[in-house]
């Protein structure tokens, strides 16, 4: 009788451990997936920028510096590695793009061009995608980090070396409150 009880307990414990372990793996996978999603959206932005700069070039003859900043920030972002550096470079790129569109406001011809309007929609959408991907990634990281720090998962996390994952930090509080980008 005691043997059966013991067996039941052992089986139950093993099942619980398997369940917890799988939950950890699932959460970790979601983080990796979330990070990959950010990457996809960042690439999308890199691809849009050369076109944008090309279109704007003809109109913005006296604003060479703004355009160069965008191109430079783009290159920096492409070259960046690691969560922290990447976040910093991307934030810089976002702000240079913002100043580009601020400058565009002074050029009615360019502002009204059909080409630029379509590009603006593309870019607004991409900015949203990036911030949403980042937001989703951070949500996943929070779930995962909480899980590996709380009882009972923390015991398993220690045994199988589940490490905490870094957040994709935002530049300042202002951006945190309004991640939406509007060039209008």
């Amino acid at each position: 009788m005691a043997g059966i009880v013991l067996l039941v307990i052992i089986v139950a414990v093993v099942l619980i451990i398997v369940g917890l372990y799988n939950a950890l793996v699932r959460l970790k996978k979601r983080c990796d997936n979330g990070w990959a999603q950010i990457d996809v959206q960042l690439k999308r932005r890199y691809d849009l920028i050369p076109n944008l700069v090309e279109t704007a070039k003809g109109y913005l003859k006296h604003e060479r510096e703004v355009l160069e900043n965008v191109t430079k920030a783009r290159q920096q972002a492409i070259d960046a590695s690691g969560v922290k550096d990447q976040a910093k470079a991307e934030n810089l790129l976002t702000s240079t793009l913002r100043s580009l569109f601020a400058v565009v406001e002074n050029y009615p011809d360019l502002k009204a061009s059909q080409n630029l309007l379509a590009m603006r929609e593309d870019l607004v959408s991409t900015e949203n995608r990036i911030s949403f991907a980042r937001q989703h990634y951070n949500d996943c990281v929070m779930d995962y980090n909480t899980k590996i720090a709380t009882v009972p998962s923390n015991i398993l996390a220690g045994m199988f070396a589940f490490k905490p994952v870094e957040f994709f930090e935002l530049e300042d509080m202002g951006q945190r409150e309004a991640p939406k980008v509007s060039f209008a």
Binding site: R30, G34, Q37, Q41, E121, D122, V124, S125, N128, R129, F132, A133, Q135, H136, C140, E177, A178, P179, K180, S182
Partner: protein, 296 residues
């Protein structure tokens, strides 16, 4: 959100059980009235199973067809697709099928059984009236219904409530107009009259019960979807402004009916219409929703 998903799955099961119970009881009395109780129960169980399976697998298609929604692709409305694609990233769900209803009345809804089989529909009127941010708020509300699995429960309620109403309508007609034929082997005497009475009461009460169920579920759900939408966009004003525009519009959406009204972001059946009534409202007052959003 995980609790929401579990609750919606559980509620869907409860709905299936409840609807089956109602149908079986109805079937019992109908059978008794026509002289075959077990036949009535048997038929009711078959109807319940068919209705449940149909509601689960094809409820979304039935609702979209009923609402005269047509499927669109990215080329048709690029900005709408952009907005929805952005939100799928935020919510971590696959891209839903996108439908448009050609109607100037502003409204939108989501349906399907899970995020892998989800559809969102929006009227052309709403698309024209909203700015990009407002459109994002509305679609975020719909994507929240998808993510929470509200769509599963709401779609099943729509289809199953519809089927109960259909069966009792059928029965009521059978009782009122079918008796003149005198073909039926009715249980004679006072016993038969009692059965008939119970069956009649049930046939009248059943749709009412179904209606109550429908509205019990959707009021809280709207507040929750509003809140989840803000969690996605982090911009309450977008949805608040959109709701304001929809509330200020007096146009009527003809394709909406009693079985589908609870799906819409704002009740498509206006109180001034004959078919509307505040007692059976499936939505919380829109002013209250806007106020809650602005307070976030």
């Amino acid at each position: 959100m995980y609790n929401e998903i579990a609750a919606n799955k559980r509620n869907s099961w409860i709905l299936v059980v409840l609807v089956t119970a109602v149908l079986v009881t109805l079937g019992y009395f109908m059978g008794a009235y026509w002289g075959n109780r077990y036949g009535g129960i048997f038929l009711a169980v078959i109807v319940a199973i068919v209705a449940s399976l149909f509601a689960y697998y094809s409820g979304d298609k039935a609702i979209l067809t009923m609402s005269r929604a047509r499927r669109i692709e990215k080329e048709d409305y690029p900005q709408l697709f952009d907005v929805i694609e952005e939100l799928t990233i935020a919510a971590g769900v696959p891209m839903p099928a996108v439908y448009v209803i050609d109607d100037t009345a502003p409204n939108a809804f989501a349906t399907g059984r899970d995020p892998q089989h989800a559809s969102v529909a929006i009227t052309t009127g709403l698309m024209e009236k909203l700015s990009r941010d407002e459109l994002q708020g509305v679609m975020a509300h719909e994507m929240s219904h998808v993510g929470n699995r509200d769509i599963l429960f709401a779609t099943m309620v729509g289809v199953m409530v519809g089927s109960i109403v259909l069966v009792s309508d059928f029965f009521l007609r059978g009782v009122f107009w079918g008796r003149s034929g005198g073909r039926r082997k009715s249980v004679g005497g006072a016993g038969g009259a009692v059965f008939l009475l119970i069956a009649l009461v049930f046939a009248i009460v059943a749709p009412l019960f179904a209606k109550l169920l429908q509205l019990a579920v959707s009021r809280e759900r709207e507040y929750l979807a509003d809140a989840s939408a803000v969690q996605l966009t982090r911009y309450p004003e977008g949805l608040a402004a959109a709701l304001e525009k929809i509330a200020g519009d007096k146009e009527v959406l003809e394709v909406a009916n009693r079985a589908t009204q609870h799906l819409y972001i704002v009740n498509p059946i206006k109180p001034f219409e004959k078919r509307g009534s505040s007692l059976f409202s499936t939505h919380p007052p829109i002013e209250e929703r806007i106020a809650r959003l602005r307070a976030m």
